[in-house]
C-alpha cells in the first residue's frame, strides 16, 4: 500500500511540475494583470492620487461618439477582414489538402509560412514601400499608363484590409487544411455520382464537413485582427481609427490608465461576444472547434 501511495504521489508531482510553467504563465501574465486592469477600469480620479469607485470610464465610452464609432468600425472591419481571409484561404487550403501531393503539398505550406519568417513590423513596412505615393506600385501604374499621376495607395480602409488579410492568412489556412484533409474523397465522388455539381458538393458536403475548421480559423483570425495594432496604424495612418490605437493613446499619450483599462475590457467583451455568436450561428461546439486550431 505505501508503495502504491508513493507512486500515485510522485505521478501527481510530475503532473504538477509539467503544468507549472503554463500555470505560472497564465496566472502571472494573464490573470493577475487583468484583475488589476479590472480594478483600474472601475475607479475615477477625483484629485491627484485620490480615486473613488465609479462607472465613469464606461460612461465616457457611450457618451463620446468617437469612441463607440471607432469600436463599431473596428468590429465591422475585423469581421470583413475575417470573411475576406476565409475566401482567399479556402482555395489555398483546398489546393494543399486535396490537389497537391506529398512534397508539393509541403512546399505550398512553406510558401504560406515564409512571410512569417520576417517580423510583422518589417513586413508592414514592406507594404508601405510598395504602396506609398512614391512607391513601387503607384510608379508602375504611371509607367503602364493606367494613372496619369502617382496615386497614394496607403491610408485607405482597403489598404488596411489587404494588410490584415495578408497577416491572418496562415492562421486560416492551417485549420482549413486540417479539416479538408480529413474529408474522404469518396464522399465527393459519391455526391458527384449522385448528380451533384460543384456548387452543391461545396454547399452540402465540403462546407458542413469543414465547419469546425472554418469556425476555428474565423475565431483565431477575428481575435488577431481585432487586437492588431501595428498593421492598421502603419497602413491606415491617422485615419486608421482602430480601437487598439485608442487604448494605446489612453495608456501612453494621455496617461489615462483607467480609461484605457475600460476600453481593454470592452474589446475583450466584444471579442467574447463575437466568438459566442459565431459558434451559435454555425452550430459548433467550442471544444470541437478548439481541437481543430
Amino acid at each position: 500500500m505505501p508503495e502504491l501511495a508513493r507512486a500515485a504521489w510522485s505521478r501527481r508531482l510530475l503532473l504538477a511540475l509539467l503544468l507549472a510553467p503554463a500555470l505560472l504563465w497564465l496566472s502571472l501574465l494573464i490573470v493577475l494583470p487583468h484583475l488589476d486592469l479590472a480594478l483600474l477600469s472601475f475607479r475615477e480620479r477625483i484629485a491627484p492620487r485620490q480615486f473613488v469607485p465609479s462607472l465613469a470610464q464606461y460612461r465616457t465610452f457611450f457618451t463620446e461618439p468617437l469612441y463607440w464609432h471607432v469600436f463599431l468600425r473596428t468590429a465591422l472591419m475585423s469581421a470583413g477582414a475575417t470573411a475576406l481571409t476565409l475566401l482567399v484561404a479556402f482555395p489555398i487550403a483546398w489546393t494543399i489538402a486535396k490537389l497537391a501531393r506529398g512534397r508539393m503539398s509541403a512546399l505550398l505550406f512553406v510558401v504560406c509560412l515564409i512571410p512569417f519568417w520576417v517580423s510583422e513590423t518589417v513586413r508592414t513596412l514592406g507594404w508601405m514601400i510598395l504602396l506609398r505615393e512614391s512607391g513601387v506600385l503607384p510608379q508602375l501604374l504611371v509607367h503602364l499608363g493606367i494613372t496619369a499621376q502617382p496615386v497614394e495607395l496607403l491610408y485607405h480602409d482597403a489598404t488596411i484590409l489587404v494588410g490584415l488579410v495578408y497577416t491572418s492568412l496562415l492562421f486560416m489556412v492551417v485549420p482549413l487544411v486540417g479539416s479538408l484533409e480529413s474529408l474522404d474523397n469518396a464522399l465527393i465522388e459519391a455526391a458527384y455520382d449522385l448528380g451533384a455539381k460543384g456548387g452543391a458538393i461545396l454547399r452540402e458536403i465540403v462546407i458542413p464537413h469543414a465547419a469546425p475548421g472554418i469556425t476555428a480559423g474565423c475565431i483565431v483570425v477575428f481575435m488577431l485582427t481585432l487586437g492588431n495594432y501595428l498593421t492598421p496604424t502603419l497602413l491606415g495612418g491617422k485615419n486608421s481609427l482602430w480601437f487598439t490605437e485608442q487604448i494605446y493613446n489612453q495608456f501612453i499619450t494621455r496617461f489615462n490608465w483607467e480609461q484605457g483599462a475600460a476600453f481593454g475590457f470592452l474589446l475583450l467583451a466584444l471579442s467574447t461576444a463575437m466568438v459566442w455568436f459565431g459558434l451559435k450561428a454555425s452550430g459548433q461546439r467550442f471544444s470541437d472547434v478548439m481541437r481543430r486550431t
Binding site: 474522404d184 469518396a186 464522399l187 465522388e189 459519391a190 455526391a191 458527384y192 455520382d193 449522385l194 448528380g195 451533384a196 455539381k197 452543391a200 452540402e204 458536403i205 458542413p208 464537413h209
Partner: protein
C-alpha cells in the same frame, strides 16, 4: 478476349468496346470488350491490381478511357460526366454522408434533380421501406449497423432508378457472418429491383453466389467470361482454374495421350490423368488442376472402380470446417501434396494425422492445360 455476357435476347445495358486505359507504363485495362444484358447481375472477378477498379471507374465516368467506347442503355458515354450518367455507384467504404440523416442521404440525388422537398421525403421513405429500413430515416448514419449502412448506400443509388448500379466490393468491410447474409440480401434486392448490377470483387465466392455472369479479370483483360458454372466446371485458362474455387495444381510433363485424357507426370514421379484442354503434345510441360471435391477416399484399393488409378497417402493435417472440411495428404511414393475434401457423411471422422489412406480421381473432372499457354 471478346464475348457477350449473355446469350439471351435482352438488350445490353452496358456495352464496352475495345476499352483501354494506361497509367504511365502500366496498362491497367487492355482492349476490353464485353456486354451486360439488361436486368442481369454481372461480376468482374480478379485479384487486386488486375484493373477491375479502373474499369468500374471508367463505367462510372470518374476516369476517361484512353481508347474504345462505353455505351450505357444504348447511349455512348464519351464526354458525359459521372453526375449526368444513368449510373450510380455503391462505394467500397459506402461513402454515406455523415453530415446528413439517413433520409437526407437517400434524398440527396433527388434534391440534385430539383425535386420538391415533400416529394423527395416521400420517395426516400418509400425506398427505405423497400430495403427494410422503414422508420430509420431520422437516424444518423453512424447509428446504423454495417448491414443497414449497406442498405442505405444501395437505397441512395436505387432511388434514382439508374440503368446500371455499380458495386465496388461493398462487402469487403463487413465481418464474415454479415457478409454471408448480405450476399443473399444483395441477390434478393437485385431480383426485386430488376436493375442491372455490375459488381466487382476479388472474392470468388461472392462472384459465384451472386452473379448471372462473371468476367474473370487478370492483367487488364478477361481470362474468361461465362456463367459461374462454366467458370467452375470448365475453366478456360490455368489462371481461372487456380482463381475460381479451390484447386490442386500439379505441374509436370505430358507423358502420354489416351484419347481426350493426358497422363501427367511430375518431376518427383507422381502421375495422374486429366482431361486435356486444347492441344497438348507428348513431352510438353503442362499444368493439371484437380478439385478437392472431385477426389474420392477409400479404406482399401478395392473401394475404387476398376480402371481408375488409386494412390496411397499419409494424412499430413486435417482442416475441419464443417461441410468444407478437407484433409491434406502426401502421396507416399512421390511426396506430392494434395487437398482432398472429406465426405459430408462423416465416414472419415475418425481420420488422424499420420494415418494411411487410399485416394483416387475421376480423370474427366481433372483438367490439364499446356503450361506455355498461360498469359500468352
Amino acid at each position: 478476349m471478346s464475348a457477350t455476357a449473355s446469350a439471351s435476347s435482352a438488350p445490353a445495358d452496358l456495352e464496352a468496346r475495345a476499352v483501354s486505359k494506361r497509367f504511365g507504363a502500366h496498362l491497367a485495362v487492355d482492349n476490353l470488350s464485353f456486354a451486360v444484358a439488361r436486368g442481369s447481375f454481372f461480376s468482374i472477378l480478379g485479384p487486386s491490381g488486375c484493373g477491375k477498379t479502373t474499369l468500374l471507374r471508367m463505367i462510372a465516368g470518374f476516369i476517361q478511357p484512353d481508347g474504345g467506347s462505353i455505351a450505357i442503355g444504348g447511349r455512348d458515354m464519351a464526354g458525359v460526366g459521372p453526375n449526368r450518367r444513368p449510373v450510380n455507384m455503391v462505394f467500397q467504404q459506402l461513402a454515406l454522408f455523415p453530415m446528413m440523416s439517413v433520409s437526407e442521404n437517400v434524398a440527396f440525388g433527388l434534391a440534385r434533380r430539383g425535386m420538391a422537398r415533400a416529394e423527395r421525403v416521400r420517395k426516400a421513405e418509400a425506398m427505405l421501406e423497400r430495403v427494410g429500413l422503414a422508420g430509420a430515416g431520422g437516424k444518423r448514419t453512424d447509428e446504423l449497423s454495417g448491414g443497414q449502412r449497406q442498405r442505405v448506400a444501395i437505397a441512395r443509388s436505387m432511388v434514382l432508378e439508374p440503368t446500371l448500379l455499380l458495386l465496388d466490393e461493398p462487402l469487403g468491410a463487413l465481418d464474415l457472418k454479415l457478409r454471408e447474409h448480405m450476399k443473399l440480401e444483395l441477390k434478393q434486392l437485385q431480383a426485386s429491383f430488376g436493375t442491372t448490377f455490375v459488381y466487382i470483387t476479388h472474392d470468388q465466392s461472392e462472384a459465384l453466389v451472386l452473379s448471372d455472369h462473371v468476367g474473370v479479370m487478370n492483367h487488364g483483360h478477361f481470362e474468361q467470361l461465362g456463367t459461374p458454372q462454366q467458370l467452375y466446371y470448365a475453366p478456360a485458362t490455368p489462371f481461372v482454374a487456380g482463381f475460381v474455387g479451390n484447386n490442386n495444381r500439379v505441374a509436370g510433363k505430358a507423358l502420354a495421350l489416351e484419347g481426350a485424357l493426358v497422363q501427367v507426370g511430375t518431376a518427383a514421379g507422381w502421375s495422374v490423368r486429366a482431361r486435356a484442354h486444347g492441344t497438348i503434345a507428348v513431352g510438353s510441360t503442362v499444368e493439371a488442376f484437380i478439385r478437392p471435391e472431385s477426389a474420392m477416399l477409400g479404406r482399401s484399393a478395392a473401394d475404387f472402380p476398376p480402371g481408375q488409378l488409386a494412390y496411397t497417402g499419409e494424412v499430413l493435417s486435417l482442416l475441419f470446417d464443417g461441410a468444407n472440411s478437407v484433409v491434406l495428404l502426401r502421396e507416399l511414393q512421390s511426396g506430392q501434396e494434395l487437398r482432398i475434401a472429406l465426405p459430408q457423411t462423416g465416414a472419415y471422422a475418425d481420420l488422424k494425422v499420420g494415418d494411411r489412406i487410399h485416394f483416387g480421381f475421376d480423370p474427366e473432372r481433372a483438367i490439364c492445360f499446356p503450361a506455355a499457354a498461360a498469359h500468352a
